[in-house]
Amino acid sequence: MLTDDMKKKIEEECHRCGNRQGACIEAIQTAQTFWGWISDENMEHIARFLGMSPAELDGVASFYNHIYRKPVGKHIVMVCDSVSCWVMGYEKLLDHMTQRLGIGLGGTTADGLFTMVPIQCLGACDKAPAIMIDEKLYTDLTPEKFDRIIEKYREGA
């Protein structure tokens, strides 16, 4: 169910757009901030609140990479696979990360701590290779540096 706080935020957005569909991506983003991902059931709740059909809303949602339709880990590890990172050795790093976390791109670790997803560009090309965990940027990555970072998140869990 949508919380009152979510409803209020979405309602404000609808008002600003002058129509309810205009607020739909923001509505999904608002809900996802809270739930982490959007289940079918919650997709229906949001659609109903906006006066859209669930299929219509899902059609919009499925277009965008950052809208998650299945459960994700506590932390999202976004791996930049863009050109600078690639030129600076992203492939080797990815092999290491895959091994270290035991998951491929799109996978979630068994302990539910990390989901690793590819990202087209983090705009950190000057300090490639780069990853972003949640909203924190890590640059000039090496396998050793990655291990240290992951350890910190594990300790904090």
């Binding site: 569909q21 991506i25 923001e26 277009f63 990479n65 990202i119 090309c125 640059t139």
Partner: protein, 550 residues
Amino acid sequence: MTLTFEDLQQIAKIEKDKQEGIKYQINVCVAAGCLSCQSGVVKESLEREVNRRGLENWTRVKGVGCLGLCAVGPLLYLEPDGVYYQGVQVSDVSEILDSLGGSPVSRLDCSSHLPFFKRQQKIVLENCGKVDPESIEDYIAEGGYQALYTALRAMTPNEVIDDVATSGLRGRGGAGFPTGLKWTAVSKAFNKTKFVICNADEGDPGAFMDRSVLESDPHRVIEGMAIAGAAVGATNGFIYVRAEYPLAVRRLRHAIAQAERLGVLGKNVFNTTFDFEIKVRLGAGAFVCGEETALIASIEGRRGTPRPRPPFPAEFGLWGFPTLINNVETFANIPPIIRNGGDWFAEIGTEKSKGTKVFALAGRVNNTGLIEVPMGTPLRDIVFDIGGGIPENRRFKAVQTGGPSGGCIPEQFLDMPVDYESLAKVGSIMGSGGLIIMDETSCMVDVAKFFMEFCMSESCGKCVPCRVGTTQIYNLLSSITNGTGKSADIPNLEELCDLVKNTSLCGLGQTSPNPVMSTLRYFRDEYEAHIHDKTCPAGACNCGGSKEAK
């Protein structure tokens, strides 16, 4: 509340008065690049130590926007000495404070990088490294919002548009459409409701200019948008930013809230009838949304697929209303143009490309970072003087401009001036400003394949040439790089590229063959070596055919 010009000056004066008695100012870069190597911690440590030593009356520590030389961050800039420090750690703090007024800490000094700083001309980035991106007062102290005041109180909307047209400014998003013409079209569109949109969906791989401008000087973009709103008759603005830029989003939201509080956004700005508000919209991860009609669809809450133009957004844009869409850097150029006049701007650059351009230097180059140079600067100066050349004494091979829509420029054209026309002539584009340097270890077929894979996965799927064509091109490139290419592949590639270029619906598809075409043009021998000799001259691909190529 409504702000007057006197209020602006008063705010500027209060800010300047705070500087009274300050003998030393330590500017710490707090843009994303330096923050990711702990500049935030360095700044806190400096502040703590200044207070502990009781130096706060004459020493000021200030967080500032991007200083440019991101390669060696965290960066510090000391005023009034004009010293840059690189790679500063918390353990250096004491020594830095000890050295104030004496000779600089030579171990941290990065004056060897002087050409990097000296060869630039800063208009868009003039406040970067100078103002605190989180303080509107600091922006005002540097003359901020005076251009908006002038545009509203001393000029008619037509005069503002004339000034922009005179300046010769062209869209900095990549295509280079004359900004003055766009503004005129929107201002002439007959409708009470109009919108201004700032395209900050900087998705081009290898580009980070817009991120840095938004993180370092968000008020400049807000001011540019407000001036545009006043000129074309719009009261509502949207900034569409990528969600991958959380710091830029935070700074932007903070800046908008400050601007609303002071009354430079909102109702009756500067006591005129002009109302303007700006709303931040977050992208949800789709490269194609950088295309203007796709971006509009996304703001409207639909799938971000482009539509054929005309009608152009200037007539039929957001929710069908006339809409002005410009890129971040374009808006960032507006306040100085209004402040100094269009003629001033038109003096800078080349005959057809005016002003400066911000470039993001990345890849196999010593000084990676953000630079701003006058249009027409030779590529060689950018790569070797400002960029400091190629690391490990390797040989320069190509510079890639314009991301997946651009091309690879070989050494023979390095003395070419960088402007819209020259880049187009050699088969590339200006693009948004990413410059990726490649050395002898980069395989050009692999590079073309990389960009094609990108376009293939980012194609929205609406039109057949782009959806199917990019996949077909990618498959051909894959077989060439893994050693199973055939002689017929090259003519087939050329034919496919021609088809995709001429029949795709939007810019993403139309320009996607550029990396392939430009590498075929300048590095055909590499393609042939893969196909006929089953070798990769750069040693990057596994052409033996025994193993799956990476």
